[in-house]
Amino acid sequence: MKIKKSIFLLLFAIILLSFSGCSENSQLHQKLIIQGIGIESIENEYVLTVQALDFKNPSKEDKPSTKILEIRGNSLLNALENISKQTSLTPVYSQNMIIILSESIVKNSGVNNFIDFFIRHFEARPKVKICVVKDRASEYLKIKSEDNKVLTAKDIHDLIPSSLNSDVLHFVSNLKSGLSNSYLSWINIEDKNGLKQVHLKGVGILLEDNLVKFIEKDEALAFMVLKSVPNFGTFVVENKNLGKIICLLEKSDVKTNVNLEEGKTPKYKINLNLEISVFSMSDKLEFDFEEEIKNSIGEEFSKKITALCSEVIGNFLGQGVDVFDFGKILKNSYPKYFKKIDGDWKSHLKNCKYEVVSKVNVIITGKEPI
């Protein structure tokens, strides 16, 4: 019996030793909790800018201070390895929120050369947001806000709406599918009264794994509407009674159907179900407004957005770029037909027809009768 007890005690001790608290002596201040990574290519070298939480030098405030590192390497992996060599800290990637890619690296070397790490590393999270910038990626992680504090990766992360699906998961999924083109949110720094501000400027479009174009302004607005992303910029609508009206898209619900016409040409019908808020109007509008005025604003907006979306879809189809998942929709609806054109889908894209139909619901914020 004593032997039995001794064996159990020994086993118990072995199990206790396996607990991380006993064997793992790496403390929080010995780790580099990465929050954001900027990747760019300079003189054939990968330059990585890492924004991480610094537990070694805590700030006086409640939250930990932010540390910024710049590391170089022949490859992304080499550069990442250099983090621990340079800092003697263990990098932790599971808390990373954003990957900022410079235009140069996405355009010249292609994404496939480095994205693998963010897909397969055991700490990598597929929902990490990913974006592209026209200038140096490092600038975005070093930029200081009004109170002279570094703009955190979380702030940049929050700039990109989740509904845009500009994350590693969707980005890689599109790359892998071979049907839809991948895209990245495009952020930009603007100088306002000597103060630098980061904002979401538009979208960068990729052909396979190379960046081919940026879209902004009205084109980006239409893109966001078609991707069900609300609150991206404002629309100005001209109304015959009220003059210029500023509208903000509150909700966008997009449903796309496809039909095969007689000549076997796919025709897409894009139904936009939108909700807009009207904020600024001319002085003529009183507190009690007529339903007729509301309808006319809706009609004007609907015309404008339909024309804009049609133009943007037309441009993309003409260039053989499928960012609105038309290929997947056709494949799901008419698999037999799609199988015949599967290998050559991008060239068939140019012949596809489309129709945009919108239904707009207008809300006069703060003036809705109860």
């Binding site: 086993l11 072995i14 199990i15 396996s18 991380s20 064997s23 793992e24 790496s26 599971s94 897909i119 397969r120 055991f122 700490e123 999270r125 597929p126 929902k127 998961l169 969707h170 890689v172 999924s173 599109n174 892998k176 599918s177 998942d325 997947k328 929709i329 494949k331 799901n332 698999p335 199988k339």
Partner: protein, 362 residues
């Protein structure tokens, strides 16, 4: 009269359900290769029906004499020559233990990458499993109730957390590239059902309605499989094919209210399931040893099995065998032989022996 552990049918199928779940949760390109996961949705109902077909000979043999397990039947009907067959069963149960350890090793090294040695972690798991097996089937059955409750809660929680992220566009037409993936899916699902062979030993130990138990167990197992396929494809689309363990990745992206990164929940449930599966198959293998060498040898054999598994764990390159498609086929043929061929032959022999006895009596 030989003393047999007695547990309820519910407990038997709880253990088998958990054993099946642990492998379903590691479902991914490591075990299925390039096969189209979405097409495996068609494999689910086929495998569901096939399972009934494969279970039937074992159930039939059991219903001919409800006190005898497959090893008793082999010994009674074939005599000493049947010992070879009993050893084949023992080897199969040990192969399943090895396969489970291989899945554990591959999963931990690829998806978790802990700071401590994986071999050491495997040793701890083997020690715990041997202890579980040493305590016997009743103790393990009681433990399985707790594990089952936590597993069901976790699975439901993970399912709900992923549901909001499902995108209908990811559901492409089934069998778009032909039926090859469906076939591969069926082979995979059946080959990963060692629980069918386990039933050959476990059925006489349970109290209750076994037929109902088999139907409910089989239904829930494949319902869960279908759910896993729908959720991982719906929430990750083509990204699934870049992941070795997509269910684990999906657990990481799921969110439910303020709960995020539920992969830790997955890990907790999964490791307890692995422990249960290893213990159960150690017990099953030791039942074969008991039949040949007696009760004392049973307890010793558990330690021997543990040492064997621990020795294999010292050479992690052995676990790379999972990456070869041959593994699935070997497990498949092994399972078909032990659950379909052997019991069918035994039924045949038993039937003729009974008939001859009746004729003599007449």
């Amino acid at each position: 009269m030989e003393k047999r552990p007695c547990i309820s049918t519910g407990q038997i199928f709880s253990m088998l359900f958990i054993s099946k779940i642990v492998i379903s949760m590691t479902y991914g390109s490591l075990l299925i290769g390039d096969s189209d996961i979405w097409d495996h949705l068609v494999s689910v109902p086929i495998s569901f029906l096939l399972t009934f077909l494969i279970v039937w000979p074992i159930y039939k043999l059991f219903s001919m004499d409800k006190k005898m397990n497959i090893m008793d039947n082999i010994y009674n009907l074939i005599g000493k020559w049947g010992i070879t067959l009993i050893f084949i069963y023992v080897i199969y149960y040990l192969v399943i233990c090895f396969h489970t350890l291989a899945v554990f090793n591959n999963f931990i090294s690829n998806a978790v990458n802990p700071p401590i040695s994986i071999t050491f972690l495997t040793f701890i798991l083997i020690i715990c499993s041997c202890y579980g097996a040493y305590k016997g089937l009743e103790a393990l059955a009681r433990t399985s109730s707790f594990i089952l409750i936590s597993t069901v809660f976790s699975v439901v929680f993970l399912g709900v957390s992923l549901f909001s992220g499902v995108e209908v566009i990811n559901f492409t037409p089934l069998m778009y590239n032909g039926s090859e993936s469906v076939k591969e899916g069926v082979i995979y699902m059946i080959s990963q059902s060692p629980c069918i062979v386990a039933l050959a030993v476990l059925l006489p130990m349970g109290k209750g309605n076994k037929k109902r138990g088999i139907i409910i167990w089989n239904f829930l197992v494949y319902l869960l499989f279908a759910m896993i396929i729908v959720l991982i494809i719906g929430s990750m689309g083509d990204f699934v094919y870049t992941q070795l363990f997509p269910v684990y990745t999906a657990a990481g992206i799921g969110k439910f209210g303020s709960f995020r990164h539920l992969d830790s929940l997955y890990l907790g449930v999964w490791i307890s399931g692995i422990f249960l599966k290893l213990s159960l198959f150690f017990i099953l293998a030791s039942e074969g040893i008991k039949k040949v060498f007696g009760e004392k040898a049973k307890k010793i054999s558990i330690v021997v099995f543990g040492v064997m598994m621990a020795s294999v764990s010292c050479f992690p390159s052995f676990f790379g065998i999972l990456k070869t498609s041959v593994t699935t086929w070997v497990l498949f043929y092994f399972l078909i032989f032990l659950s379909l061929v052997v019991p069918s032959v035994l039924i045949f022999i038993k039937f003729f022996k009974l008939k001859r006895r009746n004729n003599i009596e007449d």
